[in-house]
Symmetry: C2
C-alpha cells in the first residue's frame, strides 16, 4: 500500500490522475470528465493537474495511449496462440468488438473526433496508434497468405478496408444507432463472412 495523504505534495499525482480520469470516463463518459472534478476527486486543487499535463487534451491522449497499448497486448497474446489461422481471425473479430463494447469510452477516445480532430494527438499517442495499426497490417499480410483474407489488393488496402468495417460496426454499437445489443452476435458473424474470402466450396 503506497498510500500517503494530507501531505502538500501528493507524491504520485500523475498516475493517480490517469486512474481517476479513467474511472470517471467509464462511469460518466467524456462529458462527465472535467479537469476540476477530476482534481477534486484526487483531492487536489483545480489547477494542480496542469503541472503534469499541459492540457486536458494531453490527459485524454495519455488515456487513449494506454488503450492502444492494451489493445495491442490483446492482439499479441492472441497471435501467440497455436490455432488455425482462420479460427484465430474469427476470435480476433469477436475480441475487437468486445473491446469496443466494454471499453466504449476509451475506444471512443482512441479513435474519436475529440482527440484526432478537435484536439491535437500527442506525438507519443500517434506513435502508439501507428504501431498498433502496423501490427495489424503485418498480420493481414499473413492472413492473405493463409487465404483467410482476400488477396485482390495490397495488404494496406485490405487492412484499411477490413479494419474500417470493424470500426464502423463498433461505432454503431457504441453510439447505439440502427443496432442494438441483441444484434451484436449476429452482426459480428455476418461481418466475418463478409470480410473473409468465401470458401472455395
Amino acid at each position: 500500500m503506497t498510500i500517503q495523504k494530507k501531505t502538500y505534495h501528493h507524491g504520485d499525482l500523475i498516475s493517480s490522475l490517469i486512474k481517476a480520469a479513467s474511472d470517471i470516463l467509464q462511469e460518466e463518459g467524456v462529458e462527465g470528465l472535467s479537469m476540476r472534478k477530476l482534481a477534486d476527486k484526487v483531492g487536489v486543487s483545480r489547477t494542480a493537474p496542469y503541472h503534469h499535463f499541459k492540457d486536458k487534451n494531453e490527459l485524454l491522449c495519455a488515456i487513449a495511449e494506454a488503450g492502444f497499448k492494451a489493445q495491442e497486448a490483446r492482439l499479441q497474446s492472441l497471435l501467440s496462440s497455436h490455432e488455425a489461422s482462420e479460427k484465430r481471425f474469427h476470435r480476433y473479430v469477436y475480441q475487437y468488438i468486445e473491446f469496443a463494447d466494454t471499453q466504449r469510452e476509451v475506444y471512443d477516445l482512441m479513435y474519436g473526433r475529440l482527440i484526432w480532430k478537435t484536439g491535437t494527438p500527442t506525438s507519443s499517442l500517434k506513435d502508439a496508434s501507428k504501431q498498433t495499426f502496423k501490427r495489424w497490417l503485418d498480420w493481414v499480410e499473413q492472413l492473405q497468405e493463409d487465404r483467410v483474407l482476400p488477396s485482390n489488393n495490397s495488404a494496406l488496402r485490405v487492412g484499411q478496408a477490413s479494419w474500417a468495417s470493424l470500426h464502423g460496426l463498433s461505432r454503431l454499437l457504441i453510439d447505439g444507432i440502427y443496432l442494438d445489443r441483441n444484434d451484436i452476435q449476429a452482426m459480428t458473424e455476418q461481418m466475418i463472412q463478409t470480410l473473409t474470402q468465401p470458401a472455395s466450396s
Copy 2:
C-alpha cells in the same frame, strides 16, 4: 429578398437559426457552434433561440434531420435512374463517401455520439433516421435479388453489415485516422469489392 431588420420581432427566426447554425457548423465544426454566438450572428439576444428550440440539442437534431432528408433525397434520385443494378450500387457507394466527406460536420451530427448518446434524439429525428435506413434495407433486398449483394443472410443483416462498413470508412475519413485524403478513391474501390458478391467468373 425577404430581409427585414431592426424590428423587435425577427419574423423568421426559426429558419434563420438553422441556416446560420449550419453555416457555423460547416466552417468551424460543432465545437465552434455555441448558442450565444449563433444568436449573435442572427442579430438577436442570447436567449431568443430558446423560444424556438427547447435545447441546443433540439437545434442540432433539426440540422441532423435535414441531413437525413438530404441523404434520402440523393438516394431516391439515384434509384430513379435507369442503370444496371451493380453500376448503380457502385455509384451509391461513391456518393455516400462523398457526402460524408463534403458534409462532414453534418454527417457527424447525423450519426455521431453527440446526439445519439450524449444528447437525446428528437422523435422526429428518430423517424427520419429510421426511414432513411428502411429505404436502404428495401434497396438491399433488391440488390440481393440482382446478385449484387450477397444473399447469405437476411436483408437486415446484410444491410446492417454493409452499411456499417460504409460508415466505418466515412468515419476514418472524417476523423482522419490511418487514412488520408489521397486514399479515398482506392479505399472506396476496395470497399466495393469487399461488399459485392465476387463475380462467378
